[in-house]
């Protein structure tokens, strides 16, 4: 499999997944939210709503087909050009469908309803225990520490120079010299990732607003939050085992020419398959947990009182920017709020904590690229 084929097939797969995601999230909103606008619960079953949704679907398919054509043309190009065209194809889909989202929201604003001014809060303290308890949260760090200790014990067996990167043909194309940094940098970065996820879990647990204070909808909200926290913990364990396993590579990979190939194709397939499976699992779990109450079925929508002012998600429409994707409300003390599309939560960009989180993730991204270059050479 050459590089061009890998780029194009990866792009076509992600374009298909992207289209599925856009079509899914447009439908998956609270019954009183439609394209990030507060409406009456009965609106989404009206002819006007169906027309808005139909036009959005057509636009999403149009931009995805256009992006797929750009990606397919990359088959005729050299790997470097194919990479640029693959990125361009992704951008075409993202920009085009986001534009369609903004258009759909503009049309929905004509049907906007004033949400209820009532607010409610449960007075029994929320369950503040992290998923899996504190011991469960400590687990990934223990796994990393034990694996690093085992590698440290076998230090004499590590070759003086070992491969750290492989090309599409499975041959190594980058090496590192044996040092503390080259052997232990990866487990340390793994621990930082686990720490970030741990911080994210705690901040989500303590900084989120529950929309309903009691009843079945509250139970669904709590169930979804627990589900998200358990997914985060599972990701931490997965990262710890993966990074810990990769730290063993200097001991396992042969450095003899001819015997030093690495199954790159399998690694690429796994790199696409595992996150894809994780996304599918999250979507299924969210659907089963009835994602924050009543996002899905018409049967549940029927339970919402049409004669009352819509509850919505207790955030003002005007604070949702960029087609309803970003929330900015300086008057809202919540750091996390429910997303108006799809599954899960988003940050309130008016809170400092949101920028700290974003900065932390970006800083980690930059450091994870820069540090190996600085320390492994």
């Amino acid at each position: 499999m050459n590089l061009t084929t890998i780029f194009v097939s990866t792009t076509l797969t992600t374009l298909a997944m992207g289209l599925g995601l856009f079509l899914f999230v447009a439908r998956r909103t609270r019954p009183e939210i439609f394209f990030a606008v507060t409406v009456n619960a009965s609106f989404r079953d009206s002819a006007a709503a169906r027309e808005i949704l139909r036009k959005f679907n057509h636009a999403a398919v149009f931009w995805t087909v256009l992006a797929a054509i750009v990606a397919a043309l990359a088959f005729l190009c050299a790997p470097a050009t194919a990479l640029i065209m693959s990125c361009a194809a992704e951008l075409v889909q993202l920009a085009g469908t986001t534009m369609a989202l903004v258009q759909a929201r503009k049309k929905t604003l004509a049907h906007r309803t004033e949400p209820s001014s009532e607010r409610e809060a449960q007075l029994t303290p929320n369950d503040s225990r992290p998923a899996g308890g504190w011991l469960g949260q400590l687990g990934p760090f223990l796994v990393l520490a034990i694996l690093a200790l085992v590698v440290g014990i076998q230090w004499p067996q590590i070759p003086a120079r070992f491969p750290i990167h492989w090309g599409a043909d499975g041959k190594p194309n980058d090496w590192a010299n044996k040092s503390w940094a080259s052997v232990f940098l990866l487990p340390i970065m793994g621990a930082v990732v686990c720490g970030l996820f741990c911080a994210l879990s705690l901040s989500l647990q303590r900084g989120i607003r529950r929309i309903h204070a009691s009843g079945a909808q509250r139970a669904h909200e709590d169930a979804l939050l627990r589900c998200v926290l358990w997914i985060f913990l599972a990701v931490e364990y997965f990262m710890a085992v993966l990074v810990g396993g990769v730290a063993f590579l200097p001991l396992m990979i042969s450095t003899d020419p001819g015997h030093d190939t690495f199954p790159t194709s399998i690694a690429v397939i796994l790199a696409i398959a595992i996150p894809s499976l994780a996304v599918v699992a999250i979507v299924i779990i969210a659907a089963r947990s009835k994602e924050s109450g009543s996002r899905s079925s018409a049967g549940e929508r029927a339970g919402v009182h049409a004669e009352r002012k819509p509850v919505g998600d207790r955030t003002p429409d005007e604070c949702w920017k960029g087609g309803g994707l970003f929330y900015y409300n300086p008057n809202d003390p919540a750091l996390w709020v429910e997303k108006r599309f799809g599954v899960g939560y988003t940050v309130n960009f008016a809170r400092c904590g949101a920028w700290f989180l974003l900065g932390g993730v970006l800083l980690f991204g930059v450091l994870s690229i820069m540090l190996p270059r600085l320390l492994l050479k």
Partner: protein, 132 residues
Amino acid sequence: MELVLKIDLDRAAPVYRQIVDGLRALLVAKAFKPGEKLPTVRQLAIDLAVNHNTVAAAYRLLAEEGWLELKRHHGAIVVARPSPAAKPRRQRDFVKRLRELASLAIAEGVQTRDVAAQLKALARNLKEEQTP
């Protein structure tokens, strides 16, 4: 018993006053035992989507009335509050406010006998809740 606090941002009464009134009603009804914790100022402000200072002011007022003890890093804790003997002036204020409320209800069309029945029922319920 589901302990839920409800406020309405469109009501004329300020939000902190609505929080105080709602919590006091629950405290009088002995919905909380002494030593129980209320949600933190932060949590209640997030859930009600109001400013932290609004909730903090409401908690301070309830603490001044003797319902809560505010401890740094421990939040608001419900305390046992002996019922004080009402001073004559307090009693007069209360009767005045009750008369104003009953007049308003009658002016808006509620039957006098319904107002009287509601007041009796309310008094009976409060008496039962107060009895250990």
